[in-house]
Amino acid sequence: MMRKKTCVAMLLAGGQGSRLGILTKRVAKPAVPYGGKYRIIDFPLSNCTNSGIDTVGVLTQYQPLELNAYIGSGAPWDLDLTNGGVFVLPPYQKGKVGEWYRGTANAIYQNMAFIEQYHPDYVLILSGDHIYKMDYNAMLQHHIRHGADATIAVREVPWEEAPRFGIMNTDSDDNIIEFEEKPKKPKSNKASMGVYIFTWEKLRKYLTEDEADKSSSNDFGKNIIPKMLAEKQVLVSYSFDGYWKDVGTIESLWEANMDLLTTPMPIDLHDKKWRIFARNPGYAPHYVAVGATVHDSLVTEGTEIYGHVEHSVIFSGVTIEEGAKVTDAVIMPGVTIRRGAVVRRAIVAEDAIVGAGSIVGEETGNIAVVGYEVELPAGVSVAAGQQVDESVTFG
């Protein structure tokens, strides 16, 4: 028998992230690189470690290979433990039944046996879609203090954006009195962050009932929460006012990277008390050559810069050759930007090569994307908003 855990985290990492276009063709959204040396999933995993939550199930199903390899034993996040740690949980055959995860609630339902091993009092539900630093333990204490059955993390969004979110209407004591999914006329601007804490006994009951309901789409936001509310369970909101960014689209992923270049950084990644851990590729420090210029940028280890970098985020193992100009761009691991190439307002994905003198992106307009391992020939142009994968040919 496993030793008891107060709280077990379940991280929903199965989303395809189709709005990220060619960036998620080969990897699941949580494995998408961000911020020069991280992947999106580093944020919820590091938050768990920093919050003292040491048992995390990561539910995968879409393109899990890279994500599984990235998580490995969990050592980078100190989650390689004898009792607890991080576990990748793909869908599996149970008796004669084998099925994919049908919805967020169904994914947790299918892994109830995993949770039960630890006899937790509480279960924390997370997603791998956001960049934020949050103390889940503070949220758990809030949950306990309120004697809640479920606590939903909320943040205030601009009123005009509220119709895009699941909105919580609360009383003065943080009790949720109404939940509206994407309301046309919102009564509040408190949007759900997709971070939930449930008292495990209650959640187990609702998951089991939900599974039996054939009309349910087995989703937390659409089914579980409304049902709990209808049955007068204690649902409270937990307000979070720190940096929180959905990186679900090409534009928002690019913006979230650019956010790190403003002063002060809206999300402090220097914070020694709340480090964001990541798997480290083990390169030498980066090198900036004579004749190179680097301004307003993030640059990480294993990279060599001979050209010009302005207002960009440069990942590990990148080479920017002489005369190349990189501006307002996100250059992911292992990329080579050849001599004289110009990259602006663009994302260049892992191991791609931008040929000499090529032009990627434009000074205005949508973000251009060069996909994984694409070798862009010399002297070609990629227009604003264009996504280039291996199927694109240049004549």
Binding site: A284, P285, A292
Partner: protein
């Protein structure tokens, strides 16, 4: 090479490294922006799939222990074998201070006896290089020699009245050994790393104890070569190598790594160098700074001017600060308006506003750990 273990001796004389080795062994000296000297050796051993590495420690070994930890960063934290930290200990025969390599080995005969590998690579720790140890081991196994020494012909590691020099015949046999000569007659410098069978090493250590020998080279190797009682070969390492035995040598090594060709030779893609991870964010450049010909580690914030320098993790160069030909270790700070040239700042050293500090070309100024100027 599962059947080869490594033993690294870290008790070298460090007087000429002055303040830099006041609180640490040479093996623990920070180099090249994010490494310690010993990282290169341990990584090279691990890259040759050696799974059992012992590190004999002498004095000031706290930072070395802190750095190596459980060996996790080198994947040396297995259930079988792994990384063994061997600090000195007191017994009736052992007073804790090793009088040379043989003494240190004698104190650790238990470790040697308990290990299961057939061969042992024994090494000092003040040379930096990234050898393909699998080639060295293969050469030894194929040559039939009882002991194989590694050497380099690189003249930059030759020293007056220090070091061991070999005469190596065409067939790889060592025919002469000189120790600490005023002017070495031979062009091959022994890199203080050798391989032999583990049981032979046990015999050698026992023999040394029985005869009161202290000096591995002078008391054992030289007589073996001269009498021909054992076949001793040598294998040439042709890559870049540095001997870190003085402040100047330390400075030179760091500056040499700024050269792209040298850096590529020291960090080949298939021989990665592992080190302790600190989980710093990428380095951040401001809008006005300028950085040229420099190595910059993660966690740095660069808003001033940086020329020909090596910056370790978490270094901050303020706006209008200017550094040239400097090595700035972890968490060092240079404040606004300061100008420093030819300086080595040890960890957490701070140069305050408008300070000027210019060291002579041949003799960089060392600012000790935690000092504020």
């Amino acid at each position: 090479m599962k059947d080869v273990m490594g033993v690294i001796y870290t008790g070298e004389n460090d007087a000429r490294l002055r303040e830099l080795t006041m609180t640490r062994a040479i093996a623990a000296l920070p180099v090249a922006g994010r490494y310690r000297v010993i990282d290169f050796l341990v990584s090279a051993m691990v890259n040759a799939r050696m799974r059992n590495v012992g590190v004999i420690m002498q004095k000031n070994y706290h930072s070395l222990m802190d750095h190596l930890g459980s060996g996790k960063e080198w994947d040396l934290h297995g259930k079988n074998d792994g990384l063994y930290l061997l600090p000195p200990f007191l017994t009736r025969e052992n007073v804790g201070v090793y009088n040379g390599v043989l003494d240190a080995l004698r104190s650790n005969t238990n470790y040697l006896t308990r290990s299961r590998q057939e061969y042992v690579v024994f090494s000092g720790s003040n040379f930096i290089y990234n050898a393909r140890f699998s080639d060295f081991i293969r050469y030894h196994l194929d040559s039939g020699a009882e002991i194989t020494l590694m050497y380099t012909k690189n003249p930059s590691v030759r020293r007056e009245e220090a070091g061991t020099y070999l005469n190596v015949a065409e067939d790889g046999r060592v025919t002469d050994v000189e120790k600490d000569p005023t002017e070495p007659a031979n062009e091959a410098t022994f890199m203080e790393v050798l391989i032999m069978r583990r049981d032979l090493m046990r015999q050698i250590v026992d023999k040394a104890v029985a005869h009161g020998y202290h000096d591995l080279i002078r008391d054992l190797l030289i007589p073996m070569v001269l009498t021909g009682q054992a076949r001793i070969n040598a294998w040439e390492y042709k890559g870049p190598v540095w001997l870190i035995d003085s402040v100047q040598a330390f400075f030179r090594f760091n500056m040499d790594v700024l050269n792209t060709e040298t850096r590529r030779a020291l960090f080949p893609e298939d021989l990665p160098v592992f080190t302790k991870v600190r989980d710093e964010m990428p380095a951040r450049y401001g809008d006005a700074g300028q950085c040229i010909n420099s190595l910059v580690a993660d966690g740095c914030i660069i808003e001033g001017t940086v020329e020909n320098s090596v910056l370790f993790r978490g270094v901050r160069i303020a706006p209008d600060a200017h550094i040239k030909n400097c090595i700035i270790m972890q968490d060092g700070q240079v404040h606004s308006g300061a100008y420093i040239e030819n300086c080595i700042l040890d960890k957490q050293a701070v140069i305050k506003r408008n300070a000027r500090l210019i060291g002579p070309d041949a003799y960089p100024i060392v600012i000790a750990k935690n000092v504020v100027i």
